[in-house]
Symmetry: C2
DNA sequence: GAGGCTAGTGACAGTCACTGACAATTGACA
DNA sequence: TGTCAATTGTCAGTGACTGTCACTAGCCTC
């Protein structure tokens, strides 16, 4: 492995500057009210360059999120094969939250990321993209689960169904966290744990009998 | 109730013409490759008028879907209070599929609707909007479920969690139906039934023991 | 049934995201 | 140092969408 040359480092710096400035402007003034021109003027590159780094204005908003998701997938891959599908998913998220903070801070301040996440949840256009990206990740997760269990994803619907139910709960978790008052990493971790525990109970035929 | 005047009827006709032409062009040439100008030229109204009826190009693609969703919500509201939350959701969808066909045909041919649904599933921009709309409906469903069970949605997470898991499965159903070969109303009904039955089993800790 | 009121429409100009084409620049490397 | 190739900037254009204002046509009153 060779050291990255000047050219490569410059590219990396431009990319990170674009992300940082974009997220700061987005969270400060709102996503819609921030134009791409404002971003590129601050970073001092041309608009054309922005669109060479990011295929759309939306994409830059998900740059950090992208990294978080990749970590989660890796965490799932590393789960011991003895765990059942649901436990593997659950433990992958929970262990992920423990190490994710440092990785984020290397790119942007942690609180900027947390504010970005809330902005995504509260901006319709971004929420839509977020949800679509989530389903793309679900497909990845389903394939990993299927492989763990020695199943064919296309023949047996259970991996996709389990992942869909799991992801649904994760999404509600993110939503509730965004609306709540405690906007810390610890809070989202606790909510995740709590809500996943509820899933089994929520599926029980009648709730009133066993409250 | 008075008969709608000429003005009102004219508006209704314009709206339906825009929907029909838009869906036909979308399904024939693709959503992205169809411009709003093409739609309005065919219907012979100005672009400005199009945007007075629909707030965006996306919205017209969901005009029929909107109606279907409203029906489902109504069906859920009419479920007997004795049913558990999950059964109520399940039966509302299944009974919905039986009567939905006629309602759709009043606006557009059934097969145009089915093709539109597939187009939505296979067009990233529309899929994103579709998913966001789904979560909006989930909120409605969660509130209905909470009310049925005499719970407070904001205090007890179970309604939202149950609905999220349920909707996740419904989404997978729609996806699988779109990818499959049998594109009939009956097929989607059968898939719905089959996949919902799998949900309980998919959550079981270990799958291998009970295949 | 003439005339005023107003909802609905069209025409026009402008903004913003995004793209293709080509020219200018600048690391990389012989 | 000079050449090559990657990166960036400039420019012109498209398509979705919005504000404004004038105009047309149902509607309603006298």
């Amino acid at each position: 492995m060779t050291l990255p040359g000047l050219r490569e480092r410059k590219k990396q710096r431009t990319r990170e500057a674009l992300i940082k400035v974009a997220l700061e402007l987005f969270t400060a003034h709102g996503y819609e009210r921030t134009t791409v021109d404002e971003i590129v003027d601050t970073v001092e590159v041309s608009q054309r360059t922005f669109f060479r780094y990011f295929s759309s204005k939306e994409e830059v908003a998900f740059a950090v999120q992208q990294m978080v998701e990749e970590r989660f997938v890796e965490a799932l891959r590393r789960r011991p094969p003895g765990e059942g599908p649901f436990d593997a998913l659950r433990n992958a998220v929970l262990s992920g939250w423990d190490t994710i903070g440092d990785a984020i801070t290397e790119v942007v301040p942690l609180d900027l990321y947390l504010r970005t996440f809330q902005m995504i949840e509260s901006t319709p256009a971004l929420l839509a993209v977020h949800l679509r990206r989530s389903t793309e990740m679900e497909e990845t997760l389903a394939r990993i689960i299927a492989e763990r269990e020695g199943l064919d994803v296309d023949a047996d619907p259970r991996p996709r169904i389990a992942v869909a139910a799991f992801s649904g709960v994760m999404r509600v978790t993110g939503q509730m966290w965004g609306r709540g008052t405690d906007q810390s990493l610890e809070a989202i971790r606790a909510l995740t744990e709590q809500y996943l525990d509820h899933l089994g109970a929520a599926l029980a035929p009648r709730w009133r009998d066993r409250t």
